[in-house]
């Protein structure tokens, strides 16, 4: 893996919705991310790919204020958000769907969605209905305990909960992991639609072929550093990248 010696070739953008500059972050004393740069423009669809343990999830968590911040800048919509608490970041208009354990198992589907809008005084009915329209199965199962739903349904619920506040940017950590093929397709389609409705997407995916095909732009992360940043399709066709990260 160490053959790739190319240093960061990342373009920076001026008008991005989310801009991460030279971010250092980790867990406790352990630094994972080194000088990571990353941009997401308004309404853009960006993915991060890379080997296991590269720090992809750590990037997402860092944006959301869940890691130990060690340096660099994170700006969202022109405002600095590094060091804020997650509930404050939510106020800024970012939603986050973690990689695993992303529903409250003993709460019902409806209650899970209500929790998504906790920071509002009242749960907006139209927001709830919008989620139900997007994921009809959730409306059907509104009273069911989330913990008893199947993997795919839980993934939809988690996404629905993050959409309750109609965020400008949605962070998705491996949304297709563990889904059956029909659901994988379905999931990617839904993400496309969410994106089409104007929500910017930052997504981590191991299902790189699908992800790269659909996204606008992609970053490759290795050992906590940016390696590449390119159009999804271009990356998909780069033989070096294919060999190293996409399994030939």
């Amino acid at each position: 893996m160490s053959e790739i010696t190319a240093t960061t070739e990342v373009t920076t953008y001026d008008d991005s919705l989310l801009s991460v500059r030279s971010l250092d972050a980790g867990y406790g004393d352990l630094q994972i991310l080194e000088h990571v740069d990353l941009d997401v423009a308004d309404g853009e669809y960006v993915t991060i790919v890379g080997p296991n343990g590269a720090g992809k999830s750590t990037v997402m968590k860092s944006v959301f204020g869940l890691t130990t911040y060690m340096g660099g800048d994170i700006e969202f919509d022109g405002e600095a958000i590094e060091g804020l608490r997650p509930e404050e970041i939510i106020h800024h208009g970012i939603g986050y769907v973690p990689q695993s354990d992303n529903v409250f198992p003993s709460l019902s589907v409806e209650e899970n969605l209500e929790m998504g809008a906790y920071i509002l005084d009242n749960v907006p009915d139209d927001a709830m209905q919008a989620v139900y329209d997007r994921f009809p199965i959730l409306e059907e199962r509104r009273g069911q305990k989330a913990g008893t739903m199947s993997g795919g349904q839980q993934q939809m619920l988690a996404m629905g909960r993050a959409l309750m506040l109609d965020p400008d940017l949605l962070l998705l950590d491996e949304p297709s992991a563990g889904l059956a093929p029909d659901l994988v397709e379905d999931m990617f389609d839904r993400i496309d639609r969410i994106n089409d409705d104007g929500t910017a997407i930052l997504m981590v995916e191991q299902n790189a072929k699908q992800a790269l095909r659909r996204c606008d732009r992609s970053y490759v992360l290795v050992q906590g550093k940016n390696r590449y940043e390119e159009d999804g399709d271009a990356l998909l066709n780069d033989p070096e990248v294919r060999k190293q990260f996409l399994g030939g």
Binding site: P86, E87, P98, D101, L107, M115, G116, Y118
Partner: protein, 366 residues
């Protein structure tokens, strides 16, 4: 044939349950025998039941807070008993002050009559004689204990919020020691009379003597329980608490103000503990620095028997423990009467054998 087969299956699958059922039947039979045969007067039986209900209600009241903090913060708070004690001391110091300030020096009153302070009979606090100071004391007990639990949370638990349950549990043992002996530092280490029993009216209901303080406790205790129930059912707070008990990290990510909910949990748990401590003194009439600590194991037994995290479990568990510790005395007489407390513990262990998660375990009712 059908019931026979069912019975056989029951014996095979749940032999323990059958044994318990048989034992329970025998006890009930024996009880009826004693009641009709005159070995036990109905009045005495009623007295046991009433006694058990009052103490059980208090255990349940105190248990709600323990159960809430247990499930939401993920640790067994061994300092809970000492919150109860501080509730008692802070509340009664103020009740004494208000009841006697027109006649006695403030110092002795604030120490609840310790040292050269006035005697209970002189201050004369009782619900009928000095209702206002009793109510004021209750309010102070709640407020003060809320303050103590928030302060302790800020200083002790918050810096180690992410630590595992055992670390927090042990920190709480430290808090317990410190709080308990601070009472000794400021007050005293003995047991002291507080209320004026000569001014507590009592009523004879079918031979069972019920006094005004016990009635006060039942009324206040039930009111508080209903209040908690409504608070958790009618607001999204209850759901947020359940969400946090499920998965605190996710709650944070979802935008639930985790620290805020934790604070509310302490306010509820601490307030109820303070109220329970204050009311315990109202019924037993005496106060001691370790009164909460002595109750703590019984409260734990109640909470665990009811199922951790369940408010109703705590209440039911408290009543069961209270009744068991009193009703067992029908059989445990003479030398054996010291086994009342072991019986309560034994009952808890027994329940856990059949329902390892507690009576209401796995059912979230808050």
């Amino acid at each position: 044939m059908e019931p026979y087969a069912r019975g056989r299956r029951l014996v095979r699958d749940q032999p323990g349950l059958v044994v318990v059922a048989v034992a329970a039947l025998l006890l009930v039979g024996d009880l009826i025998g004693k009641l009709t045969g005159g070995g036990l007067t109905p009045a005495r039986f009623g007295g046991f039941v009433w006694d058990g209900l009052v103490i059980g209600l208090l255990i349940g009241l105190a248990g709600i807070g323990l159960s809430l903090t247990y499930s939401i913060l993920g640790f067994a708070n061994f300092a809970h008993g000492d919150y109860i004690s501080w509730g008692a001391f802070s509340g009664w110091a103020v009740a004494y002050l208000l009841a006697g300030i027109d006649r006695y020096a403030a110092g002795g009153l604030l120490l609840i009559g310790a040292g050269d302070g006035p005697a209970p009979g002189d201050v004369g606090v009782s619900i009928t004689n000095t209702p206002l100071s009793i109510v004021a004391g209750l309010v102070v007990a709640v407020a003060f204990t809320v303050g103590v639990s928030l302060l302790v949370d800020r200083v002790v638990y918050r810096p180690i919020r992410e630590a595992d349950g055992i670390t927090l549990l042990i920190a709480s043992i430290g808090v317990a020691f410190a709080l308990r002996y601070l009472i000794v530092f400021f007050f005293y280490s003995g047991r002291q009379g507080v209320t004026d029993i000569s001014r507590v009216p009592s009523y004879d209901i079918g031979g069972v003597v019920i006094n005004a303080h016990e009635l006060t406790i039942v009324v206040v205790g039930l009111a508080l329980m209903v209040g908690v129930h409504l608070l958790l059912q009618r607001t999204k707070l209850g759901k947020a608490m359940r969400a946090m008990a499920d998965n605190r990290d996710l709650a944070q990510v979802t935008g639930i103000p985790v620290e805020g909910v934790i604070r509310t949990t302490w306010i509820l748990g601490g307030g109820l503990a303070g109220a329970a401590g204050y009311l315990v003194v109202l019924t037993q009439g005496t106060i001691a620095y370790d009164l909460g600590w002595l109750l703590l194991l019984l409260i734990f037994a109640a909470v665990i028997m009811g199922g951790i995290g369940s408010v109703y479990g705590a209440i039911v568990g408290g009543l069961v423990i209270g009744l068991a510790s009193r009703l067992s005395l029908i059989w445990l007489t003479g030398d054996l009467s010291s086994f009342a407390e072991p019986v309560a513990f034994g009952l808890m262990i027994f329940v856990l054998l059949f329902r390892p998660e507690g009576i209401f375990g796995g059912v979230s009712t808050a």
